[in-house]
């Protein structure tokens, strides 16, 4: 009698454990994905600020693509992540305001964007 009671308890425990593990795995998986995404966003944001600061000092004339590895460290050739720089000019003052729009991609997913710009005078100001 007691042996069958213990057996039933163990079966119920296994079922409960299976259910609990499904929920817990989803919980830990969600935490891992959220953490992973915020890490990528932080690294992408820092990389974008570096590119933007450099580009504001010497604004490029055409769109560019910068490649990065999985940790958003600069890569030589096409790699896992990238930052796309789009250049747009609008006439302003005596020259143009060059707007630089940066978009960071982790794989093919857009994760962050940043915009800045510089006024490029056309002629010397009196």
């Amino acid at each position: 009698m007691k042996r069958s009671t213990v057996l039933i308890e163990v079966i119920l425990d296994v079922l409960f454990l299976a259910l609990a593990l499904v929920v817990l795995l989803r919980l830990f998986s969600a935490a891992h994905l959220t953490s992973d995404l915020s890490e990528k966003k932080t690294r992408a944001s820092l990389a974008m600020q570096t590119v933007l600061e450099r580009s504001l000092l010497d604004p490029p004339d055409a769109d560019e693509t910068y490649w990065y590895d999985a940790c958003f460290q600069p890569a030589e050739a096409a790699a896992e992540n990238r930052i796309e720089l789009a250049v747009a000019d609008e006439p302003a003052g005596t020259g143009v305001v060059r707007t630089l729009t940066l978009t960071a991609f982790a794989g093919e997913t857009e994760i962050a964007a940043l915009s800045g710009g510089r006024y490029l005078p056309g002629e010397a100001t009196p």
Partner: protein, 139 residues
């Protein structure tokens, strides 16, 4: 002859299992809350950088408008420009606490116009009542 009773009674395994599950649930929730807090901090940090560069872009557009008027020999009438002694200044807000302060000296017949300041300043009012008492003066 009496059978020897097992060391583990009925219900012990269930109690251990429930305790373990509760513990794992608590750890899981803590991990998720921590990850979400990290995510929010990342978003706030990026939003602050975004706000700065947008304000900087706005400041560059204002500079362009000012430059156009100076180049045309007209008085600077760009909205927000204030005359402060022999310098002109304009404040471009970044957020509730920061702004970009641009100052320049207009042409005066001898010297050309030139910029004397372009930096981020704190616009938040200093609240003395919330100041920390770092040095105990005995008062």
């Amino acid at each position: 002859m009496k059978r020897e009773q097992g060391a583990v009674g009925v219900g012990t395994s269930s109690i251990i299992l429930i305790a373990m599950t509760l513990l794992l649930t608590v750890f899981g929730i803590l991990a998720l809350l921590s990850a979400r807090a990290d995510g929010k901090l990342t978003d706030r940090t990026h939003a602050a950088a975004e706000a700065y560069y947008l304000a900087d872009l706005q400041a560059q557009r204002i500079l362009a408008a000012v430059d156009a008027q100076i180049a045309a020999g007209e008085p600077v009438t760009v909205e927000g420009v204030k005359q402060n002694g022999d310098t002109c200044e304009i404040l471009v807000p970044i957020d509730e606490k920061r702004a970009i302060l641009i100052m320049w000296k207009p042409a005066n017949g001898v010297d050309k116009s030139y910029m004397i300041n372009y930096n981020v300043i704190n616009t938040e009012a200093w609240d003395v009542t919330n100041a920390w008492d770092l040095v105990n003066t005995g008062e």
